[in-house]
């Protein structure tokens, strides 16, 4: 007697612990094999772009904190950078250095969250505890600097809101060797773990052509051998003053993405180290009018987020509020490749692949 088989629809989410937010996937599966995956997004859509049209430029900044909430500093940076570009503002040196320090610390914190949650997704709980313990140290420093653990609202058009004290800089200096030693521990525990390595090797693999076509950015693009990092290719702020590498891999699988992100932690720490060593004294805000009215015009500027390129497309009509502001969110465009990666995969690989894409739903839905 022939075995009767039929396809089945499987719903994943929107409330699913491994989607790290409200993300829904509709899977059409044949046994264990995924035939088709349809992502459903928008559960966290708050209409930031529409809201921003009724907000002054300073008022927009806290809204960006809530987009990619693991990485609010870089989000702040993206929006103030666009306004500064349009206005032609020169930001004081000290503010630029502070921006780089907090950007890179935030990148480390964000990668630590990814590291912890990714390992937890695929079944290892203790790395999560290690990662969050260390990330808390960075978050505490941010709390001391700007009074918030996650939603910093730290940057302003023309500089930063709060100057760092000498003690704060000293604390950052002391944190770097600690995080480096912790990094070694992670790599011992996880990076050298045969089970983990075998689990993610060759999973979710794609090549450079595919990555470029799908407009991927960040580690998702660099894991295929494309060396593109806006901090190097289109240096904003004072990134051109620091020596650091852009880690690249050619494997294109989840394992490559894991090692890239871990390597980026080290590179970021190296940038922070150089920045705290060379930070000049001086003001942290440029002289700008109290009411920010960029001239009529249109700019597009992008920063390198931990998850990829965050672009800001700003159209001004010379008013104190933007005519139109659009965020090109890295999580949103990186997520597009997911249906292609999942097709023909085992259901068991779903979480491993989704986790390695590294999305933040606030950033996907805006």
């Amino acid at each position: 007697m022939p075995l009767r088989t039929e396809e089945m629809l499987l719903n994943v989410g929107p409330q699913h612990p491994s989607t790290h937010g409200v993300f829904r996937l509709i899977l059409r599966i044949d046994g264990e094999i995924i035939q088709e995956a349809t992502p459903v997004i928008g559960y966290l859509h708050r209409g930031t772009e529409k809201l921003a049209e009724d907000l002054t430029y300073t008022q927009i900044i806290p809204y960006t904190d809530r987009m990619d909430y693991l990485n609010a500093m870089n989000n702040n940076h993206a929006v103030v950078l666009a306004v500064e570009k349009l206005m032609g503002v020169t930001v004081p040196e000290r503010a630029e250095y502070l921006r780089v320090i907090v950007d890179e610390l935030n990148r480390v914190a964000s990668h630590l969250v990814w590291f912890g949650t990714y390992l937890m997704d695929i079944g290892a709980v203790s790395p999560f505890l290690y990662a969050f313990k260390d990330r808390e140290k960075i978050v505490d420093l941010f709390n001391e600097l700007c009074g918030a653990r996650l939603t910093y609202n730290y940057m302003r058009v023309g500089g930063v809101k709060w100057d760092a004290t000498a003690e704060w800089i000293e604390k950052v200096k002391q944190l770097i060797p600690y995080l480096r030693s912790q990094y070694d521990e992670y790599m011992d525990l996880v990076g050298g773990n045969e089970i983990f390595l075998a689990r993610v090797k060759g999973v979710g693999k794609y090549d450079a052509d595919t990555a470029i076509k799908y407009g991927l950015s960040g580690p998702g693009l660099r894991c295929t051998g494309v060396k593109r990092d806006l901090r190097k290719d289109d240096p904003y702020s004072v990134y051109d003053r620091f020596t650091f590498d852009v880690p690249v891999s050619t494997a294109g699988d989840c394992q490559a993405r894991f090692f890239l992100r871990m390597e980026e932690i080290l590179q970021s720490l190296s940038i922070v180290e150089q920045a705290v060593a060379n930070i000049p004294d001086g003001p942290v805000m440029a002289k700008i009018p109290r009411v920010i009215r960029p001239p009529e015009g249109e700019v597009f500027s992008a920063v390198e987020n931990p998850r990829g390129e965050l672009g800001v497309h700003l159209v001004s009509k010379g008013k104190d509020k933007p005519w139109r502001i659009h965020w090109k969110r890295p999580s949103f465009s990186n997520l597009q490749i997911l249906p292609r990666l999942l097709k023909g995969e085992n259901v068991a690989n779903l979480i491993a692949i989704l986790g390695a894409v590294d999305i933040v739903l606030g950033d996907v839905d805006a």
Partner: protein
């Protein structure tokens, strides 16, 4: 559903009427801004910096309106206007690059394939071209495939509502050559239609759905054009300037 839509359109009409009502006095204010500009200037000197900076855009606007009128009279677009703005018209370092792009596109896709081209100086001298909507599909293929252009990486795709028309703005980069380009495609507000480029750059897929969802531009030839961020049953396109939210309470 139909009733809902009717209500919506009524509301919209009302909203429009209010808007234009607003506009009349505003225009009246702005038109004599040219002669009264000096007057206002003297007043603002007594005031703080803020008022001064407020004056600037209005003066700019008046100048621009005048320039636009002149341009229309001479029946030429953009270029003379730009020259007037930057008195010493220093050629942008990106100008030769832009010229070469335009030349290639016009050679392969016809004279009309590029409506205008200019350098967006405020945006780090970004080369910008305006492509007519009916040519966009073929120009996009050319941009991606022509060896000299090789725009393989779609950085951003967004829509802007300029009230008279809608515009799709695409930021392209060539990872091969390292150059970038901004493409603008204008479309009518009522019958908003632009060819889809999701087949040229798969990255455009969700971006086009986002623009369709929030701005109401139909991308013809898109594999699956439906709402992406808003719920499927949503009425209206929120990012349009005349959008009035449908309120179930009323």
């Amino acid at each position: 559903m139909t009733r809902r839509e009717e209500e919506m359109s009524e509301k919209r009409k009302k909203h429009k009427a209010e808007d234009s009502g607003d506009d009349v006095p505003r225009d009246a204010h702005e038109k004599p801004a040219d002669p009264s500009g000096a007057e206002r200037g003297t007043v603002s000197k007594a005031h703080d910096r803020e008022a001064e900076s407020a004056l600037k855009p209005s003066a700019d606007k008046a100048a621009k309106a005048a320039a636009a009128a002149k341009a229309r009279a001479a029946d030429v677009k953009k270029k003379p206007k730009e020259k007037k703005k930057e008195e010493p018209p220093e050629p942008s370092p990106q100008q030769p690059l832009l010229d070469s792009f335009v030349q290639v596109i016009r050679e392969k896709a016809g004279e009309g394939a590029v409506e205008t081209s200019f350098i967006n100086r405020k945006d780090g001298h970004r080369p910008t071209i305006v492509v007519p909507a009916n040519q966009w599909a073929s120009v996009a293929r050319l941009l991606a495939e022509e060896a000299q252009l090789a725009f393989d990486y779609l950085q951003n795709l967004s829509g802007v509502d300029y009230e008279d028309y809608l515009e799709v703005v695409i930021h392209l980069t060539s990872l091969k050559h390292g150059h970038s380009l901004c493409v603008k495609v204008k479309t009518d507000r009522e019958e908003a239609q632009v060819p889809s480029v999701a087949k040229v750059w798969p990255a455009a897929d969700w971006h086009e759905r986002e623009v369709f969802d929030l701005m109401g531009i139909r991308f013809v030839g898109h594999p699956e054009l439906k709402r992406i961020l808003m719920p499927d049953h949503w009425v209206g396109h929120p990012l349009r300037k005349d959008y009035v939210p449908y309120d179930q309470e009323i």
